[in-house]
Symmetry: C2
Subunit: 209 residues, 2 copies
């Protein structure tokens, strides 16, 4: 290795083994990669560089998780049957990881300023009409409410996937996360649902239907 | 090239240029890859080999479309500004194509019989609870109805993404597609919506809420 190459490699923190459930890691990776895909499309649709950067950070988390899964899975197999099952899990994990990679690529479209052409916006809008970004206005009934208490999933079929408050991103916020005016909320759901959610955020609609 | 390699290459049909709108091709690719991801997850969730094979076929269509897009895009640029915009479209297309590749990978998990481990099922089920597969029973109100007339998207937030009738797959069926008893219908939507849709298909629910 040449000196410069060695130095570049040193910028990456080595990933150390830590015990974790292979099953849990796979579930977490799936959740993370689906979220990354949604947020990546949103970053292009709303020309949101911060969100695109957030997707890249989530990508680092996905990479980390993927290594931990490989390490833990490789310690599990004791016989041929175990090995066959582990192969399935590793193949599933690698395909999920590929999806996370595609999401990072989409975020790069935004970061590299390549999303200017209307065709790019249009292609993403066409299918991803179910994504919405709403800023909670003063007077909105969402201000001060816990996500779980709003029961948006049941009433209007909408899921909050990320909240930006100031400089902080809350990705996949928990049910006890309390929304506040000024929050920029990314959500997904049915056509009708995301429309209703947007009106709730703007304060135009005064109760959850 | 060695002789055997040349023969292998001959198995692929050459893709010939045909004029098409770059914008249209990008939209179509986006639609196709999102559909492939949904159907790939469904193929693992429902252990459905036919569906997994269908995903691979859709992947061929996506590959073909991707080449046509490259060909047409390369003819469009006349000046530096055009070239910059085309770069954006090509980057977006390649990330979308990567997503289609990840979907094919997931379908391979099923085809290679690697989906047996409960962790794999569980990981996909956890997030993709919004996918449903229903067989239309005799007496179901869906039997004989056109998809567009049912207005499922508006009423219960459900989208029909593919219908299998006998040996034929109808992927992303049009609004004038008439459902019939025996159809195996793949749909996606909100938690509540897909539950209602399943009950409509089974004939347990006699009208669209």
């Amino acid at each position: 290795l040449k000196q410069e190459e060695a130095e570049t490699v040193l910028e990456f923190r080595p990933i150390r083994y830590r015990p974790m459930s292979v099953r849990g890691a796979l579930k977490e990776m799936k959740k993370l990669s689906s979220l990354m895909v949604d947020l990546a499309y949103s970053s292009v649709l709303y020309r949101d560089r911060d969100l695109a950067e957030g997707v890249l950070e989530l990508g680092d988390t996905a990479d980390h998780l993927s290594y931990l899964l490989l390490m833990n899975a490789s310690l599990v197999a004791r016989d041929k049957r175990d090995a066959e099952q582990i192969a399935g899990i590793l193949k599933a994990a690698s395909s999920i990881h590929k999806m996370a990679g595609a999401a990072k690529d989409i975020a790069m479209v935004e970061l590299q300023g390549l999303s200017l052409h209307p065709s790019v916006q249009e292609a993403f809008k066409k299918v991803e009409e179910r994504l919405v970004r709403t800023t909670i206005q003063p007077g909105s009934i969402l201000d001060g409410r816990r996500i779980g208490d709003l029961k948006l999933e049941v009433s209007i079929g909408v899921d909050i996937i990320a909240v930006r408050r100031g400089k902080t991103w809350h990705v996949a916020p928990r049910v006890d996360f309390k929304l506040a005016k000024g929050d920029i909320v990314h959500a997904r759901g049915s056509d009708v649902g995301v429309g209703l959610f947007d009106r709730l955020g703007r304060g135009e609609l005064k109760e959850v239907p």
